[in-house]
Amino acid sequence: MALWITLGVIAVVLILLVFTVIGMYNGLVRARLRVKEAWSGIDVQLKRRTDLIPNLVETVKGYASHEKDTLENVTRARAMLQQAGTPAQAAEANNMLTQTLRSLFAVAEAYPDLKANQNFLDLQNELSDIEEKIAYARQFYNTNVLSYNEKTATFPTVMFANMFNFEPAEFFEAEEAEREAPRVSFASPPATPSAGPSAGPPAAPPAPGT
């Protein structure tokens, strides 16, 4: 009799344990999925941004063709963004693109005809809109990364995170304000800190779980 009670208790405990484990595992999966979804929010805006750059470069070329360095920097930053394989790389390339665009728009100040060009103005507006949207999408993404990473690093979920390879996700870091002043001409090609690695897809899927 006592044996049966003991066995019954053990069985109940085991079943409860199994359910808890399943619940925690699912929680991790759900959190990782949320990170992935939030990343696509950033990705959409990054794509919009890279799609606009060629048009912008062409427009500026028409008025300020000898600002070659500035234009090249923009194009290079765009290429870097397209090749970025991880959120961190994308963030870095995106921050670089932001800086080069800033210097491009600063240069444009010297060309009244360009500044009056409707196409240029539209592009400028749209790019600043995208920049705002990236900031908001980043906020949402980083919140999700934070809650996922917390799960992968704290007890008890950390056990399953290790067991099933739930790696912490990368944050999408904002550019630190004025980390480096926008240099109008930096003509050294190898200055790109981390050129795109293997030919990843143009848009970076989140690193974790892939």
């Binding site: 929010g41 705002e132 949207k133 908001y136 999408a137 906020q139 949402f140 999700n144």
Partner: protein
């Protein structure tokens, strides 16, 4: 992460939104159940008091259930309709739409429908039964009188209501119990002014008696309705929307300034009424004189809200 339910002003404590959502969904059910049971019981009791059970009682119950369903699905359209809100597109209101779009990206919610109310009193509300069927409305006065950051703060407050299902509870109240509030208000006024002076024309006694009974029923229902509306609003709801809105737009000061401007504006919002007042970010009725108005007074003191935002 634990919820700080009693401390609405702590911005760094992420209030567990899933808790809020669950609570709001439960509250919606509770409100519908209380409504059906209370009104059903009242009608039943009346029917026995007035001699025997009425054969129409089953129909009354069916009507009550239909009314609950109707208010679940139609409340937001009605709230927008009676407020004279007009849906706008990106072309009509680029700035407002852009702000709402940015905030929906920032909160991970689907883009709600955007409405504008042509009224110069600054105010705003959100409505809908869930984030997929949500709408936000801003008055013309709000768009004119606030700068971009302030408008962003107000809309962030509204998006927080959308995200945590506040809108479901608040909106269902409009039709479910708001009508009673309006009718009760009307009946009280009629009893006060109309009954005495105009009672001398050739009304038949029976009709007058029925009207008196209806007035009494409404007078009983009014406090119940008021209580339900209170349930739907609760000060905490506004404080929490302020806090998470500030978190969303990253600018508590702008929201505080917006609240200051909205509350300093003495112009009442003409399209608001007792059934919809609790939806707005700040009380649109602007007058607190009569007993009924006090009973329905719904919004937490704006000075306190501003103080909490400033302390973030």
């Amino acid at each position: 992460m634990t919820t700080a339910g009693s401390l609405p002003g702590t911005p760094d404590e992420p209030v567990l939104i899933y808790d809020r959502i669950g609570k709001n969904k439960r509250q919606t059910w509770l409100m519908m159940a209380v409504f059906v049971v209370l009104v059903g019981a009242l009608v039943t009791a009346l029917s026995y008091l007035l001699g025997g059970s009425w054969p129409v009682l089953p129909f009354v119950y069916a009507g009550l259930l239909a009314w609950v369903l109707f208010s679940y699905y139609m409340s937001s359209s009605i709230a927008l309709g009676v407020s004279g809100a007009r849906q706008v597109t990106r072309e009509d209101e680029p700035e407002l739409c852009r702000i709402v779009e940015n905030l929906s990206i920032g909160s991970g919610l689907p883009m709600p429908k955007v409405y504008v109310i042509e009224d110069s009193a600054p105010n705003a509300f959100a409505t809908g039964r869930d984030p997929k069927h949500a709408s936000v409305a801003a008055t013309r006065g709000l768009l004119d009188k606030l700068d971009k950051a302030e408008l962003e703060g107000v809309m962030a407050h509204e998006m927080s209501h959308v995200g945590n299902y506040d809108i479901r509870v608040m909106t269902i109240t409009v039709v479910l119990v708001g009508i009673i509030a309006l009718l009760a208000d009307f009946a009280m006024r009629w009893a006060w002014f109309g009954a005495g002076s105009r009672g001398s024309n050739k009304n038949k006694g029976g009709a007058a008696a029925i009207i008196v009974i209806v007035a009494i029923v409404l007078a009983i229902l009014a406090p119940i309705a008021a209580q339900l509306i209170h349930l739907a609003i609760s000060r905490q709801r506004e404080y929490l929307a302020d806090a998470s809105g500030a978190l969303l737009c990253r600018n508590p000061d702008a929201l505080a300034r917006a609240l200051e401007k909205i509350s300093a504006d003495r112009e009442p919002l003409e399209v608001a009424n007792k059934a919809t007042a609790h939806l707005y970010i700040e009380n649109p009725l602007k007058e607190h004189t009569s007993f009924l108005n006090n009973m329905f007074s719904t919004h937490p003191p704006v000075q306190e809200r501003i103080r909490l935002l400033r302390a973030m």
